[in-house]
Amino acid sequence: MQMGMKGTVKKIISLLMSLFLTSILTFTAFQVIPGDSALIALGMDATEEQLEEYREEMGLNKSLPMRFARWLKGALKGDFGYSSQYQMQMKVSTLIGDRLTVTLWLAALSFCIIVLVSFPLGILNARNRSGTLDSLITLVTHFFMAVPPFFLGMIITLLFGIILKWFTPGNYVSPEEDFQRFLRFMIFPAIAVAVPKIAMLVKLLRSSLLREMGLDYVRTAKGKGMTDTSILYRHILKNALIPVITFLAMILADILAGTILVEQVFNLPGLGRLLVSSIANRDYAVVQAIVLYIASVVIVINFLVDLLYQWIDPRLRKD
């Protein structure tokens, strides 16, 4: 067990190192892009003196490592400077912070829906192998796998927003304003994000469960006199989860990075839309911060999945 601890500490150290490397890459990448950030910040009308003053003030004349250190120090405190698309009036951190709340809520909601719906369906599907229910679920999942989320968003808007009037399309309410109405609104984009992923997950879970059901240890359990249900929950499920976890992690990273199309359809102020508008406006400070965020999310999720695997599968533990 002590070795296990040691392994975890090692993993944490390598996590921190990858995060550091990511920050270097993110920073350098934007230094290589041609263009004068002073000019971008102050606009084409700025005089030479104003530009020089800005460069001095922002430390743009210093060496690359110095500027990186300065940027990283700020980044660690959550300070990424000011956004140029808002005429340097808006802090990048505030801008991203607001959008992040929306994206995080959307991610959390859709992730819950994905897990809560696909697990029972996948299990039901596998248990009714080659029954009518199985064929029906398979048919429906195949259909939804092919539907892109934004199109589904449009259908949902039409059905629940316009016909059933369960929410007002486009009328986003921020959580500070009215949290209940915010949640009621957010549930619909969350469904739009979740449905195609559910379809894929049900399919994956079904095939994973069926594969496990054919293995020898299941026969052993049956030979002990266990019922099929307790074999499923006590023996099969945990084994079947192993491939599913990787996929769940990919989904989570994907929706945490922002879902631009769904945000657009539901008029949500999320991270995805901010990223697109920042790229269009050459607002590098914002883009840099979002890229760093996305990269970190992916790295951290991978780290957590790694730990989760070791917890589930004793064969992966080193001793």
Binding site: I13, K224, G225
Partner: protein, 545 residues
Amino acid sequence: MGKDETLLCIEDLTIGFPTGKCVKRVVDHISLEVKKGEILGILGESGSGKTITALAVMGLLPAAARILRGRIQYRGRDLLTLEEGERRRLRGAEISMVYQDPMASFNPLLTVGAQVEEMLRLHAKHTQEEYRALTLKALKEVGLTEPLEVYHRYPHQLSGGMRQRAMLAMAIIAGPKLVLADEPTTALDVTTQGKILQLLRELNEKYGMSIVLISHDLRVIQNTCHRAIVMKDGRIVEAGMTQELFARPQTKYTRQLVAAAPRLFSDGGGLRVTCAKNTSYKEQREIFTIQNLNVFYPEKGSGLLGKKRRKQVIKNANISVLQGETLGIVGESGSGKSTLAKAIVGLNREIEGVIKFNDVAAKGKGELAARPQMVFQDPFGSLNPTKKIGWLLEEPLKLQTNLSKKERIARVREMIRQVGLTYEFLERYPSQLSGGQRQRAAIAAALIVNPKLVILDEPVSSLDVTIQAQILRLLKELQDKYSLTYLFISHDLNVVFQICNRVCVLYRGEIIEIKEAQELLYRPQHEYTKELLESAMVKMGNRLP
């Protein structure tokens, strides 16, 4: 309850797998009885229907299998018409099974203790502490000396022998009256095999537990069972008391099996060694030498900062092989046999020391034709399943020679004849071949580039005895024809003594003895060699003189 009570009675059982319109019968009109307290052996080669019969008794047949007719009665109750709930209560508590592959038959994610205990929990009411105490007791009962440690281990952390013992503990913990043991010793070393069989006999004597022992190995059945049944293609060929049955077999097939079983000792108690008598190799020159060879396995350091470590598997090995001889390498699993073989063919580069072919050190590519070829243990895994046999045979020629397409095909055709297959096999995929045919194809693939030295890594251990004998004969023929030199790796001493001129014993990565086969058999020096020989004999029901 009398001693003669019949526990299990199978009448006219027929099981088939429907394929398309016809049904492939795998068990065909089988009738047998198991009495209380007896050990019944079922002997048969793979595909003879012995495992399916056992699974039918357990009610664990694969979904595709259909019971076409017959009855299975357990203490007067017909199992086939029993309600599922009733039947479930019998499983484990009355009838339990020891499965063929204990690694796959345990859940990899749960501790061994939890899985053994689960059996008890399903069939008996106790307190938490009692469950645990009884589980530990059962683990101790099957000869696991540190039950508490085993209890907390996961299946992959145990050795093959320990896993098999744990599987046995699981089978007996709920006190069943009948245990079906399906090839319980097949995957084990000879030394461990003997101990497990001994354990089965002890359990039978101590608790009067009836055992059905299923094996393809005549010696296992002969040494353990009171009564035996010989099965072939789903039918019972012959049955009788074990001694009688194998001493005076009535049918041709049983006689064949008895004849094919490799033996060290004849019935008279004297030694009858079938060691290869070919002594002409002695005048030959050395074709291959190893000097002070150390082989390592790199161990992956953990994380980004982990240091690279390596584990020494082979320690200071010295071997020289003469042209035309067969050198056997024996040792139990984990002794480094396969590692040594891989180092010789160049599949492992973490080596120190000298490996020489024809006095040329094997650094760089060297003379290609002189490079040794290898035949692997598992012809299923070592032949690419997506390619036809013809393609597989041609590939080494493409890589190692400059022959034209026409010449290559001529060579492939010649080779396939040499290993006793016909041209039509060239158009088949490995999955369409039987185990023996696949191993023939693998041998052809190894020999096609005209190597001088061939390394055979357990080439017959996955095959049935009658097929084993055929393959060994083929190897001998090919050796004479092409004056080949063999390095023959095996854990099966009986096979080794049939084909090898000299034998080298590997123990924990060290060569502890290397000498003429006869010499080794008569005058083993090292304690381990003696133990190895003894367990091979015990398994055959003989004792050392």
